[in-house]
Amino acid sequence: MSTTAEHGAVVAAAGTRHRSWLQPLVYIASPLGFMVAFFAVPLGVLVVTAFQHASLYSSESGFTLDNFRTLVTDPIYRDVALTTVFIATMAMAIQLVIALPLSYALAFRAGRLELPLLLALVLIDELNPIVRIYSYRMLLGREGVVNDVLLALGVVDRPLDWLLFSKFAVIVVLATSWVNYTVLPLYASMKAIEPVLLEAAQDVGAGWLWRWRSVILPLVVPGLLVSLVLVYIPLFTDFATPGLVGGPSSYMLGNTLADTMLAVGDWGLGSALALAMLAAMGVLSALSFYLTRLRQSQ
């Protein structure tokens, strides 16, 4: 893309050299201005508010670290953070376990079903997330379909309580809601492997385990790591899922933030929390960026 841009610079320069910086500015001014006004500045406001005592109803200016002090000292935040880490990590692990065989099957073994299955996967992401999360209530509830089936088959004699409004439900729903973020990039990297390489491995005696260990994984793992790091961000910050199918034991940081902002109304504290979450997610973004650069340099 840089050659295109260089070419564009040549084209632009050929005409009006001294105006070469003005032209792009004309185009980019409005989107840039919009982003500054409604994204950069609000983030700045967020940062400032985190260091203030502020609420929905009033605010005082004046620098304070009270908000952060609360975050660090009040054990509730630590507990919720741990729960969030646990749930997000479990969801990510489940996605990993599903994504590997799924992408392999789609890339190498699906034949005519490849395109329809891919389309089905992409389609489901376009449907309303609240509806999708809610639909799990009908499956996992005490009177839900899963319990009905289990009772009918005689596997249990009482409906299982822990399927819904629990950590289990949140993990399952998170894993399936965001699964595309892991599967699709992994599928793409598997497609990039020529099938003849797998034949060559078979030819010298590599069974399926060797083929996975020595051919497939080395070629897909770098991209997979980036995807896993990136998917962690929505898994971590999602609050609709725990809000709808979670219970008190699966209260996550996202819920805390929503409550702090809207129910409690302590905007200073909320901003501090948001900032802390942002910082944590920022570390992950930077990590993924770094991993990508590492890949490219190989």
Binding site: E194, V196, L197, E199, A200, A201, Q202, D203, V204, G205, A206, G207, W210, S214, V215, P218, L219
Partner: protein, 395 residues
């Protein structure tokens, strides 16, 4: 680097020699002569829309350089892949050293394939690519190292051991692919048009190299190609395939001198094609009489086509423009269109009375007087040297 017995003894392989077995094979004292025998029996492969291989029977002797030769789509690659285990036969059997391996997974078969696109693992160095199969067999590291180095030496890629495939040229990648197969010491090495992607000069070099490697290792080579010159240069024996069937199996000389079918005659080596109008018979011989302009005898049994014409195939070196035709010869008058001097022989391009243009190769010491361009000549050839072009009653 040759694996002479002195070298082998210095590597501690002496005892093998005392056992009285051949040892000039990659230092492997246990390879018995005759190992690497492949038998195909009624091998058939049917795809959804076509019959790719039609019940072929074949026997490849151990240690042979055997080629499958034919045009695209004739089934040679499919046959090779069935031997390697990547295609499952629709019917028939494959026997490797007497064992039925028809349904054995390629992972377990004692053959190795050199792929047309090399298929080197991009994330491994040349060394690691070659060592891969040995690692799977869990050989001790020292042995792996020794065997890999040997293999890389045989293909002359020792300095490139630490390079990745992306850093190697096509010819170099090809060699590494060959080494990867060689190092496994299989009963047979299968090569699927390995030189197709190389330029001419490199191809010629690699042909010589492969032949040398074959000699040094003594393994059975099964080689697939569509280039008849390549097959003729390298092979001990060739199977010419067409449309899923074997037309003829034989040494290069057999195929060239005694083509069994018109297809083989036309495919192997250069051939002239004449269109004749038979005018009668002389006993069992068909005759095309052109009066003062020539007489063509068709020695082999042949049936003219529906419109009464008959095609005839004759090799350029069987024809002559200098000899006087005898009783058993066919001859036609013609005008020389072009004369090409080629060192040991002269090539004449002659327009003959049948309307065809033929190529005549004449050894330079065969003619007392060389005709020139525009000259009128008599092209003659022994009647037995010609083969009918139409599918006849030949077996």
């Amino acid at each position: 680097m040759r694996f002479g017995e002195a070298q082998l003894r210095s590597r501690g392989r002496g005892p093998a020699r005392e056992r009285g077995r051949e040892v000039t094979r990659m230092g492997n004292p246990t390879r018995e002569p005759g190992r690497g025998e492949i038998v195909l029996e009624g091998l058939t492969k049917r795809f959804a829309d076509r019959l790719a291989v039609d019940a072929i029977d074949l026997h490849v002797a151990g240690g042979e350089f055997f080629s499958l030769l034919g045009p695209s789509g004739c089934g040679k690659t499919t046959t090779l892949r069935m031997i390697a285990g990547f295609e499952e036969p629709s019917a028939g059997r494959i026997l490797l050293d007497g064992r039925d391996v028809t349904y054995v997974s390629p992972v377990k078969r004692d053959v190795n394939l050199v792929f047309q696109s090399y298929a080197l693992f991009p994330h491994m160095t040349a060394y690691e690519n070659v060592a891969f199969g040995l690692r799977i067999r869990r050989l001790p590291r020292a042995e792996i190292d020794q065997r890999v180095r040997e293999a890389l030496e045989v293909v002359r890629m020792t300095e490139y051991a630490q390079q990745r495939p992306a850093q190697l040229s096509g010819g170099q990648q090809q060699r590494v692919a060959v080494a990867r197969a060689l190092v496994m010491r299989p009963a047979a090495i299968l090569l699927d048009e390995p030189l197709g992607a190389l330029d001419l000069k490199l191809r010629k070099e690699m042909q010589v190299e492969l032949r040398r490697i074959h000699r040094e290792t003594g393994m059975t080579f099964v080689y697939v190609t569509h280039d008849q010159e390549e097959a003729m240069t390298m092979s001990d024996r060739i199977a010419v395939m067409n449309r899923g069937r074997i037309e003829q199996v034989g040494s290069p000389r057999d195929l060239y001198e005694h083509p069994a079918t018109p297809f083989v005659a036309g495919f192997v080596g250069e051939t002239n094609r004449l269109r004749l109008r038979p005018t009668g018979t002389r006993g069992t011989t068909l005759v095309a009489d052109y009066g003062d302009d020539g007489v063509v005898l068709v020695a082999a049994p042949a049936v003219p086509g529906a419109n009464g014409s008959l095609g005839l195939l004759v090799r350029p070196e069987k024809m002559s423009v200098c000899r006087a035709p005898g009783e058993a010869d066919s001859w036609l008058r013609g005008t020389i269109r072009e004369v090409v001097y080629r060192g040991e022989l002269t090539r004449f391009i002659v327009d003959v009375v049948t309307g065809d243009t033929v190529v005549v190769d004449e050894l330079n010491d065969g003619c007392t007087l060389l005709p020139e361009r525009g000259g009128q000549v008599t092209v003659s050839w022994p009647a037995t040297s010609a083969v009918p072009a139409e599918p006849g009653t030949q077996g």
